[in-house]
């Protein structure tokens, strides 16, 4: 997005790109654009001209229905029911706009592990204490791995926040 004050020229360039509906414009421009629309008849004329094209575009045909065989394939590929991560479970327990940075959970897991396992005996098989080993395993199999796998598959929901 090109930064700068909301002049009538800037307003026109945005309208020519994003159309007549200000809610489609970059969020950071919307308030200034609404103010200019209220105050300036030229701005309203610019939007009216773009609205003509928007109305035409809205007339394009409905998308054709997806083939039934494709729907069946996708339904058959639904996971078996044991694929949710700790992060997803915690996000459900605390709905809202809360951000769930994985490092915070990993730090919490580490702290709990140290507190709970500080006096446990040395584990000769793992070369560390059981608590430390458990923390390492938890970290390696936690959400960072899941998100990393998702990145290989495509963006995770964390990468696309709209």
């Amino acid at each position: 997005m090109i930064a700068g004050p909301m002049t009538i020229d800037r307003f026109r360039r945005l309208a020519e790109a994003y159309g007549s509906d200000l809610s489609r414009w970059p969020v950071e421009t919307q308030a200034a654009a609404q103010d200019l629309r209220e105050l300036d008849g030229q701005a309203r004329a610019i939007l009216a001209a773009e609205a003509e094209l928007d109305a035409l575009v809205a007339l394009r045909p409905q998308p054709a229905a997806a083939p039934g065989i494709l729907v069946s394939k996708l339904l058959d590929a639904v996971p078996n029911g044991r694929s949710r991560s700790v992060l997803a479970w915690l996000a459900e327990l605390w709905p809202g706009e809360a951000r769930w940075p994985a490092p915070a959970f990993l730090s919490l897991a580490l702290a709990i592990g140290i507190l709970a396992g500080g006096n446990l005996p040395w584990n000769p098989l793992l070369g560390t204490s059981s608590a430390q080993a458990q923390t390492q395993i938890s970290t390696q199999s936690g959400d960072e791995d899941l998100l990393g796998s998702a990145l290989a598959l495509g963006p995770s929901s964390e990468d696309i926040v709209e």
């Binding site: 997005m1 090109i2 360039r13 945005l14 020519e16 790109a17 994003y18 159309g19 509906d21 809610s23 489609r24 414009w25 970059p26 969020v27 009216a48 003509e52 094209l53 928007d54 109305a55 035409l56 575009v57 809205a58 007339l59 394009r60 045909p61 998308p63 054709a64 229905a65 997806a66 494709l70 729907v71 996708l74 339904l75 590929a77 639904v78 996971p79 078996n80 029911g81 694929s83 949710r84 991560s85 997803a88 996000a91 459900e92 709905p95 706009e97 769930w100 899941l146 998100l147 796998s149 998702a150 598959l153 495509g154 963006p155 995770s156 929901s157 964390e158 990468d159 696309i160 709209e162």
Partner: protein
Amino acid sequence: MTMFDGTHRREEGYDPAMTAGSAFELRQRDATLIRAVADGDRAAARSLIDTHLSALIAHVERLTRDRAEAEDIAQESFLRLWRIAGSWTPRAKARTWLTTVASRLAIDRLRRASRWSDAEVPEVEDMRPSPEAQADAREVGQAVEEAITALPDRQRAAFALVHIDGLSGRDAAESLGVSEEALESLLARARRSLRARLAEYRMEERPS
């Protein structure tokens, strides 16, 4: 000259009435469905498919101009959603996620097949004869779809992402791998081309 008042507008993707609050609710609803999919709930999967699949195929078809390829890419996008369903958090809308993944898959395929042009194509005014004055909405809609399909690759993709699938400029730019300034330029040129091609159908001035 046929008049169109916009009342035919229907929701293939973008919801003009959507507020920030309803966008939040949409993300929560999507998250609930996707978590259910991760738990093996086929009804939740069916709901997501019914809501998004046909529009996703239409979006990819605009990019690839190939229906079979569009169905294949839409299928792959949904399969990827199933695979990451267990780690989904409600920070994205399913629609945005699916459209972004499908766009990237489509553009990658088109580039590999040398069917995607990063070059800028000069805007050309359509010189076809004017349509009949009494063309109905279906004919106009078809003309609109053809005009969109005729856009150069990057303009078509940018226009579809923002004006049909309802992605924000930032998300659309990320999907295309361009800056927001470049996206704005692509959108403006796409709209100019469409306006020229569809000049015969422009609605008449209406009182505001």
